[in-house]
Symmetry: C2
Subunit: 448 residues, 2 copies
């Protein structure tokens, strides 16, 4: 929701070039809220507002602006001022923005960024999307284990501005090999022993991730251990960065969106729905849809092969959509439960025996309940009540088979090293359609 | 995955009652890892291992054990030792556990817990599940604004053990009215000015949540602002607790599971899949399945009313499963995109005009692609190639209608104040089934 409360005042101050007023606006509230109030401005106007603030405030508010606005500002405004902004931005966030903005403009802009920050950007940019390296920041508080508590606090106090978090301080040697961790909490609780060495205080058994690890692994570790941040090391256990809790929250939301899209047979979007051009949105949907359509063509051939049945007992065609949708629904339920349980590591493919047994019992119970209703309606529409028996029998079989298929396929995919989320609801429903037709027609042939 | 590496040693130490060895095991690693290595023990064994550690370590490791094990320990072990453990556990976690364990045993146990902690438990327990109050901890670092930086650091250092986080320090008056926030970062960077007053340092514009707010609101605010913690206030702006980043991560995962289950037409589970008894699992599935089955019965009546069509042109029945599944799939895609975009606040019901326009264009394109394939196969199986025209025409219509229905229903639900996630994939597919049958049969009637 856009907050337009201050828009008229902001525009008036911009028109009057009221620097003091704009500066007051930039500092009065939490930077996140200030950014919210600026959402209704054009990128040009927003940048003018930000220019009234000092560099730290400007950077802070900019960081909370919507990504589209950030990119437009980076692409269009004065490169000299922007190069300062880029130098000030958190090391991980600026790389994300630069990757998304116009490459030609960014190359020009990067030339103006101070060497230290430029090198850092180039290095971080080299990590592929979705890895720990692409997520991390290099602004880590590192100290030597030979420092005392007092010296450490002083050092951190002096340089705090440069670090994304000062709450975890990593203890490294001259080659950046990671030796341990001291939390700010440790330091503060040991204020009474100012000459204690960090080496006596530090925790040595650290949970780390490697820069090439998948971002899902990172999110899991941080979530499991309730960390504020996790250190990222290279293949030689040298500290190359950290990933903080807020980045992990972003990853979790990204992964939830990805899984939700896959479950609906949509190739996951990179941008928001409205920000994705319609042609691209079509591309993200047509692949899965065409694949499912191709699979569903099998149903037409299957139906043709049972043509005699349908011609002879036309009433069984009436119930065809009911039978196949019920199979699809019960299979989707099982697949949904499995995929989520696999994602949250509640089950592994090794649990398949327990799963099959449970789904067999549950499928039988569910099928039984529906069969009773189905038989009631069948009796109304079928020629005789014994003909109508085709329905309950089919329903029990279809629901049981679909729950088994729906639960086993995600487990199989996980076992084979594929993403179980690829077993989308429509995919399972498609398989259940074919199973449903074959079972239904054969039960009908046998009973009628 | 269970880690069984140390199990034989642990069991041997337990058998020999090797207190020193067990104590060494408890302190050598990060508490989270120690807990992992204990997963293979029985709750009785695990508790014996923990008894070898001192109280702070015991509490820390216990907190990382699997919930089922924690509950069994609470229900079965010596109440006196357990009452100490409960007093030591984080205020929010212990309430969650007590809520889940056997109420009769817990009432007895609570009698042994020190008065201060017992009152705290009873107060937190009163907040309904899913609210900020049920999520928060009362162990907040609060100081008066009249303290100096030096005095604040000393105070925090002394009492750090009692607080869930010392990184945000809340400034309150005698009645706990919230006046501001000082971060540990602020304190450390101002070490050089030890006599500065907290009132000169504190941030006054705070983002808060009310204890009765929904947990989703809390998660959104923390995620938007990248907070480490968010203060919880009562209706009179008095500080009653805080919610920390790790609880927010838990909420996000809980909500993602809930949304995934709803998308698959499963009433969300409270426990993990394998921990839910099969009868309860059946109950969580039968409601939606029966509702969808009831809805799908309409298709049988619809089919009967088009009986003439099917009898006259039996080949159109062959393509019925294809037509309705294609409608279901394209509708599910649209619903999935809408529900996720609504959940992440990318769109609001007010955007419906833009959405309809986009989905109309996309549906037409998707339908067009599938229609071409459909016509090809139709020509092979229909009596004449002009008869086969029924198929492409139906597909374009069905896909376009399903995308519109699939995108508008979640927006409508959100607008009416319901949870758009209730518009599950099977639900949308069910509606598409009926739409598909009606369109297909009418196109056939008109063309043939």
């Amino acid at each position: 929701m856009m907050n337009t409360l201050y828009l008229p005042e902001l525009r008036e101050m911009l028109a009057l070039d009221d620097k003091a007023g704009l500066q007051e606006f930039c500092t009065a509230l939490h930077a996140g809220r200030t950014a919210e109030f600026m959402e209704g401005l054009t990128p040009q106007e927003a940048w003018k507002v930000l220019l009234a603030a000092d560099r730290p405030t400007r950077e802070e508010i900019f960081n909370y602006l919507a990504e589209e606005m950030q990119i437009e500002i980076l692409e269009q405004e004065d490169p000299v001022e922007l190069s300062h902004l880029i130098a000030d931005l958190p090391a991980d966030d600026r790389v994300d923005l630069i990757k998304k903005a116009d490459p030609a403009v960014m190359e020009e802009l990067l030339k103006l960024v101070p060497t230290k920050e430029r090198r850092d950007i180039l290095r971080l940019r080299a990590y592929p999307e979705g890895t720990a390296g692409a997520l991390m920041t290099t602004e880590v508080a590192c100290l030597s284990e030979t420092l005392t508590v007092r010296a450490a606090l002083e050092e951190i106090g002096r340089e705090a501005q440069e670090f994304e978090t000062i709450y975890y301080i990593y203890i490294v040697d001259d080659e950046m090999h990671l030796h341990g961790l001291v939390s700010a909490r440790h330091l503060v609780t040991n204020l009474g022993k100012p000459n204690m060495l960090l080496s006596d205080l530090m925790v040595r058994d650290l949970v780390t991730v490697v820069a090439t690890d998948d971002q899902e692994t990172v999110a899991e570790k941080v979530a499991d251990y309730n960390f504020l941040a996790i250190p990222v090391v290279d293949s030689e256990q040298r500290l190359v960065g950290i990933i903080t809790h807020d980045d992990v929250i972003d990853v979790l939301q990204e992964e939830a969106t990805r899984d939700a899209h896959l479950a609906g047979a949509v190739e996951p979007l990179k941008e928001s729905y409205l920000a994705t051009p319609w042609l691209q949105l079509t591309r993200h949907r047509v692949g899965w849809l065409a694949l499912l359509f191709g699979g569903a063509l099998v149903t037409a051939f299957a139906m043709r092969s049972y043509n005699e049945n349908v011609q002879q007992y036309v009433w069984i065609a009436w119930f065809l959509p009911l039978v196949i949708s019920t199979g699809g629904n019960s299979g989707s339920q099982s697949a949904t439960l499995m995929i989520r349980a696999l994602t949250t590591k509640e089950i592994t493919p090794g649990d398949w025996r327990r799963v099959v047994f449970r789904e067999l019992v549950i499928g039988f119970l569910l099928g039984g309940c529906l069969a009773v209703i189905g038989y009631g309606v069948g009796c109304l529409m079928a020629p005789t009540i014994s003909d109508a028996l085709v329905l309950p029998l089919t329903i029990v079989l279809v629901v049981t088979c679909s729950t088994i298929v729906g639960s086993l396929l995600p487990l199989l995919f996980e076992h084979l090293g594929f993403d179980p989320a690829l077993m989308s609801t429509p995919f399972i429903a498609g398989i259940s359609d074919i199973v449903g037709i074959v079972l239904y027609m054969n039960v009908a042939r046998w009973l009628l």
